[in-house]
Subunit: 136 residues, 2 copies
Amino acid sequence: MNISTIANKSGLPPKTIRYYEEIGLISPNRKQNGYRDYSETDGIKLHFLQRARSLNFSIEDCRKLLSLYEDKTRASADVKQLAQAHLKTIERKIYELKTMQESLNKLVASCHGDNDPDCTILDGLSGVFNSTDKSK
Amino acid sequence: MNISTIANKSGLPPKTIRYYEEIGLISPNRKQNGYRDYSETDGIKLHFLQRARSLNFSIEDCRKLLSLYEDKTRASADVKQLAQAHLKTIERKIYELKTMQESLNKLVASCHGDNDPDCTILDGLSGVFNSTDKSK
DNA sequence: GCTTGACCTTCCATCTGCTGGATAGTTTAA
DNA sequence: TTAAACTATCCAGCAGATGGAAGGTCAAGC
């Protein structure tokens, strides 16, 4: 299979597939003309990578997952541990983003958003909080 | 003020402060010896940048926010619009991460995590779902 | 047989937002 | 005076691709 065929099958763009080869995640055969020749196994691996990446696993995690996938004597505990660690990372990111969302929401909510230069968002960013209370 | 003084005040490391100068966010004076000499105004700007970055505003957004901050004839509507767009981005990211969290949680929950090679996580990543149901 | 267009190849640059390290000059305190 | 603690510049590298240039190849239509 040529690269664009496998690209369609795996859901990954050709550029990304070549990149994955460059960093040693896959190693397809070559035809006489120099074109890459992907096997069904390559397709399965690329699809696996696509899914793992879509769950935000890092490339290095993907590398480990792929080698566990290919190791038929693996312990599922090893896979689970990796996945749980990643889950923690995701949870941490969600928490961070929620904190930002909350802060930003407060700033946005109190800003009039009109033609006037007075802006609680800029006040908040510059460290001047409770500027709206000055009117009290 | 030398760079490490302003670094402590603004909460940004010296390397980052030099980088911000390189990309044109600030432009401190220089002393005769070539050292950067930061004013109070520079300090305020850097602190502003530190806060904006901590809310995940991109550098380009920060640049716009900073110029709005300095433009005393601004309309707060412009600031609000920028902030709201960013809020949408944050919300989108939270949603994406939650989707990932959910998927990964399901995979992890159904994996035995023992010495056995059978692994629902790897099955899920390779596209073989409901593998546990095969025992029924 | 020839051309055209859609492929494919490699290589190098770019993106975001810093961070680390090398090398060298300067200041400050003991 | 000397050593530590600054400061400066410059270049490389991180992740994870992506874009583009320059060139080779292949398949279809005339």
